[in-house]
């Protein structure tokens, strides 16, 4: 598997499939364009449709390193780009008994590289795949910083100067839409909305992820999650991740077990479980 394979849309789909990720054509197109154009790709979709998995599969397909930045509330440059190793600085200062000047103190020796800097400084032949996960959890200030980062692929560390990317990383961003992202950030990215897969595709996904799973189990589970998603009255719908775990549960328990008894695999809200049981949503599956 190489980067060259991603030069066509079909090649991108095949490369992802080789990693056990069955992408539909629109997603393969989006990934192909992100690689060919070197533009970041923003992935949105319901929880558990496999947004993060795309990055893992892409990195696997290219044979590149996956660098992941998990965003969280309050994330700032020191979490994302670099920080100084203060404990070691203090130790070094004491050991030198004041004989260290500021230049030595803020040199590479005491620099801690965080994911974004790591992505810029990777010395491999291949571009790294940089996954910026759940960007909607970060705040506006960080989003503004990211905007700059994604246009220049360079960061400035006051004590060291500007560091530019040796090779532009392939960047994927995911968002759960807990808030709207800034327009400027969106405009910098290609966009793809990952939908729930069709039943045929979902069966294929189960088969790909759990080799040797009996067809009947895959069909049962896919039918069941399909019914839950269509039910329309649940707080949280099961994602593809839940489908796979459910199939694994049936594989362990044997196919005879009633789906309602294992509902906790797919639904995590008490009211949802109750509702499904009361209304017999899964009858006959």
């Amino acid at each position: 598997m190489t980067l060259a394979q991603l030069q066509t849309v079909q090649g991108a789909a095949d490369a992802l499939a080789g990693q056990g990720y069955l992408a539909d054509r629109p997603l393969a197109m989006a990934v192909h364009l992100a690689v060919v154009l070197g533009q970041p790709l923003l992935l949105e979709g319901e929880a558990g449709v496999g947004k993060t998995e795309v990055a893992r599969a892409l990195a696997g397909a290219v044979g590149a390193r996956l660098i992941r930045l998990q965003c969280h509330e309050g994330i700032d440059v020191h979490h994302a780009v670099y920080d100084w190793d203060y404990a070691r600085q203090l130790l070094a200062l004491r050991a030198a008994e004041g004989g260290l000047d500021e230049g030595e103190l803020f040199s590479r020796r005491f620099l801690l590289r965080r994911p974004l800097l790591d992505a810029l400084e990777s010395d491999s032949e291949l571009p790294v795949v940089l996954l910026i996960d759940e960007i909607d959890r970060a705040d506006d200030e960080f989003e503004a910083f990211l905007l700059e980062f994604l246009s220049d692929f360079a960061v400035t560390i006051p004590e060291l100067g500007t560091i530019e990317a040796r090779r532009r990383p392939i960047v994927l961003l995911t968002s759960n839409r807990t808030r709207e992202l800034h327009d400027a950030l969106k405009r910098r990215c290609l966009y793809h909305w990952i939908d729930y897969p069709t039943p045929e595709r979902e069966r294929a996904i189960v088969a790909a992820r759990l080799p040797g799973v009996p067809e009947r189990i895959a069909a049962r589970v896919v039918e069941a999650v399909g019914r839950l998603r269509e039910h329309g009255d649940l707080y949280k719908l099961p994602g593809v991740g839940e489908t796979i775990v459910w199939a694994r549960a049936l594989l362990a328990l044997g196919d005879e077990v009633a789906l309602e008894d294992t509902l906790g695999v797919a639904l995590k809200v008490h009211e949802d479980v109750q509702r499904v049981r009361e209304r017999g949503v899964l009858e006959g599956v």
């Binding site: 849309v9 054509r25 629109p26 197109m29 989006a30 192909h32 364009l33 060919v36 154009l37 533009q39 790709l41 923003l42 949105e44 969280h72 509330e73 309050g74 700032d76 100084w84 203060y86 404990a87 600085q89 203090l90 200062l93 004491r94 030198a96 008994e97 004041g98 260290l100 000047d101 500021e102 103190l105 705040d139 506006d140 759960n176 839409r177 807990t178 808030r179 709207e180 327009d183 969106k186 405009r187 990215c189 290609l190 966009y191 793809h192 909305w193 009255d233 649940l234 707080y235 949280k236 009211e271």
Partner: protein, 367 residues
């Protein structure tokens, strides 16, 4: 290439933002794919030109119009689609009577003759406001809307005080001056951020006298802050955050009213809250302050309202209910809807006058 321009026009006519940057991106995308395949062109352009889920549907419609083939289907879906923006603007929207009485007023700012004008307004019920009084109150409402709930942030800032968190960076720098001994310690303290505020306004018939002023408050809140979500409901829920955004007051209210299709109709609060919980659960997130503005006259199922309010309460930091009827000193929550909802609310306020909005602002600030 000219067709790309047409496509951009068709997208813009539907409200999608397409700038020069997007167009350049689209051209680069077209270079990268096999242009003889209609589907590839469609997918490539879609990735370049869309930036939200709502855009996807608009794009498919616009693509059908411009690149043909599915023209028939597009026309069936939306008879207005082939019209340009100008033609659309001429079409009548929804039959809303101009509340200002039809006569277009010049944009003269109403200036209070004396401060006491506002003082008198403070206690006056919104339902008895005249047009002039509404305009007078606008400035005050905007000021009240700037007072908002906050929460602790995980971001910190340097402080001179002795605090909980050591500031290692500044401590190291300070120790350079004392021969490497960290004699002077430095500290950081957490900052505060605006807490998410969710405003849900009942615009059914019985709330009509209040809805306009409350929408004004919602508009001012959305305009003043970043983390506000606004919804309106009668029989169904509509998100109006984007419609209310922007500085132009009248335009924002007009957009919001056009978006809400069930103005001055019946009420099904339970169904509206259910929709809020399901379709917008993520957007509201956990830890928000949720303010519901409604008189609680509900024609829906009280059991549903009870269950949905319980769910909403669990996700919220605080749940406040504003009921104009509660202004009456003898008010008892007897309406079925209120009876179901009150056990799940933290505070019940009146929301019928400037004074009560001020009370709300005070409450929000303390949260």
């Amino acid at each position: 290439m000219s067709r790309l321009g047409e496509l951009a026009r068709a997208l813009r006519a539907q409200g999608t933002r397409v700038g020069v940057g997007e167009l350049l991106g689209a051209v680069r995308c077209l270079d990268a794919v096999d242009c003889s395949s209609r589907d590839d062109v469609r997918l490539a352009l879609r990735a370049a030109l869309c930036s939200s889920q709502a855009d996807l549907e608009r794009f498919d419609l616009a693509f059908g119009i411009v690149y043909g083939v599915e023209r028939a289907a597009a026309e069936r879906d939306d008879p207005l689609a082939p019209l340009g923006q100008v033609e659309r603007a001429v079409l009548p929207r929804v039959g809303i009577v101009d509340p200002r009485g039809g006569e277009a007023r010049p944009d003269a700012e109403a200036v209070p003759a004396a401060w006491s004008d506002i003082e008198i307004l403070r206690e006056k019920d919104f339902a008895r406001y005249t047009e002039e009084e509404m305009a007078l109150a606008r400035e005050l409402i905007a000021r009240l809307a700037r007072r908002h709930p906050t929460r602790m942030s995980r971001r910190t800032r340097a402080t001179r005080r002795r605090a909980e968190l050591p500031d290692l960076r500044r401590t190291v720098q300070a120790s350079l001056r004392t021969g490497g001994e960290p004699l002077r310690r430095r500290w950081r303290e957490p900052t505060r951020r605006p807490r998410q505020l969710v405003l849900v306004c009942d615009v059914s018939g019985s709330m009509a006298p209040y809805a306009r002023m409350l929408l004004q408050y919602m508009h001012a809140s959305v305009a003043a802050r970043r983390r506000v979500e606004a919804f309106a409901f009668g029989t169904r829920l509509t998100r109006i955050t984007q419609e209310l955004a922007g500085r132009d007051h009248d335009l924002a209210l007009e957009r919001a009213m056009a978006a809400v299709t069930d103005f001055s109709g019946g009420t099904r609060i339970g169904a509206a809250i259910a929709e809020l919980n399901r379709a917008h659960g993520r957007r509201i997130g956990r830890g928000a302050v949720i303010v519901i503005l409604s008189d609680g006259w509900d024609r829906g199922d009280p059991a549903q309202l009870d269950a949905e309010m319980a769910r909403l309460r669990r996700a919220a930091h605080r749940l406040v209910w504003l009921n104009p009827l509660a202004a009456h000193p003898d008010y008892q929550p007897l309406a079925r809807g209120m009876q179901a909802a009150v056990p799940h609310t933290d505070r019940l306020l009146a929301g019928n006058s400037l004074a009560s909005i001020e009370q709300l602002a005070q409450l929000l600030e303390e949260m």
